[in-house]
Symmetry: C2
Subunit: 259 residues, 2 copies
Amino acid sequence: MLLAEHGLQFMAGPEIRRPSSDVRSETIARRLGVLANLSPAETALLHDVGAGPTTVWTPRSLIETQAEYALQLFLISGWAARVCELKDGRCQFLQLILPGDALAPHLQVCDRQQTIQCLTLSRTVDGTAIRLAARDSAKFPGIAAATELAAAHDRALLLDQVTRLGRQTAYERVANLFIELHYRCSQVGLVHADGLAFPLTQEAIGDLLGLSLVHVNRTLQLMRRESMIALKQGRLMLLNLPELQAIADFRPPQIEHLG
Amino acid sequence: MLLAEHGLQFMAGPEIRRPSSDVRSETIARRLGVLANLSPAETALLHDVGAGPTTVWTPRSLIETQAEYALQLFLISGWAARVCELKDGRCQFLQLILPGDALAPHLQVCDRQQTIQCLTLSRTVDGTAIRLAARDSAKFPGIAAATELAAAHDRALLLDQVTRLGRQTAYERVANLFIELHYRCSQVGLVHADGLAFPLTQEAIGDLLGLSLVHVNRTLQLMRRESMIALKQGRLMLLNLPELQAIADFRPPQIEHLG
DNA sequence: CGGAACGTTGATAGCTATCAATCGACGTGG
DNA sequence: CCACGTCGATTGATAGCTATCAACGTTCCG
């Protein structure tokens, strides 16, 4: 998919909304709470951030990571992707950004035209308060540890992506991706009895896994035929997690804080 | 690789050596000096680290990244790789570690059996002093900035690796890799008129680029036939850099320190 | 109703893997 | 000194996974 073909189709730019009654204001607290123990004060701070003014981004819109403010954003609903486009139009998704994730967990680098593209309608909040708290590790030890682990987690997922692309077959890549997404979504409470909301098009899966749209389609059908997954109407359910895990060789990131 | 290093292949494990008269004690200072302006005191500190006691690692030996001390190591000669091995034995090199690089530029994560493997005889030094200096950004602003940028640089190379594996052909991958290595080696003064020392076997290139050994061989021969490269006796020369850059779609990492 | 977005299907081409064998360089041991 | 084993590079033949091209179906929406 060409980035240039799309862009901001309906909106000229981001739009500030008043704090909504969105049930997901606790997403960030939930995400970071998994990574470290948070004091009540820290949890409250993260809730406040999550309930703050929301910026809404339309599907396909690009978030300019060159801009200073973008580095402070946290995604609280919707899915986005870090994207790299080659000169000839080939497009590779580097990794997915899910609710609760920071748009720039590390120092930002502008390499190879890397951009962030929203895949769905997305909402972000300003996380400057989180960054500031993370620097004051005496007062906010939980937030400091959690944001650092989140950055390590992000990097671990990137390493998984390398292995996926380098040494796994199409079937294995899809299985691995689905388990990763299941894992990440479950951490922020986005997995329910009927699976998880799955907004990726088959083209997006292809861009993420280095596969063609057609081959993604055939792989998904094979997985359905084998009763490994159920994927319809925007919801994904993993029907045979043990078998999928064996196929995908998935291991949840084990992060040890040694340094 | 230095000829003198060839004779030491029978060593069983790491070994502490007295500071040698190795010409490469300035490698770390050179590497970090490219990323930030260093004061004379900072340069001297890095020189001292580079001239400190050296640990020697035999080819194929593994560096245990679980161990606390390994996180502080800097590579000052030889090449190593971060490696991920799947359950069934398939092996993927995640990225290469070159002289001047830290073994763990970020917080270390133990994900997916990730290990560090030496590809040649390698030497490391303890960089604890560098880490400590980096935390005192008032006294060592240059080192603090450079190590942070080095970590970002490392991540940028990882993103390049994803794009390479996901969306480039074998020929493009090899071209892109060679340019990256040329770029990285030139930063630490390892590129001379006759190119650069290139110790990778074709099997290692395959593991790095997600290709089979045989296909790497054929791709290299094609590149030689087209006079794009000269690769023999452990030295690599890029004969047509402009054309290679066009093919590989290589852009040197542009890191902006915004956060 | 037309168009767009997304998913599906069939046919074909092509890149890359795999298997197998050979060759040269090198170091070892008889 | 030479036979031998190992490692890395090379070559040929074949299989197979995945891309590409093209067409069609479905849903949604203005």
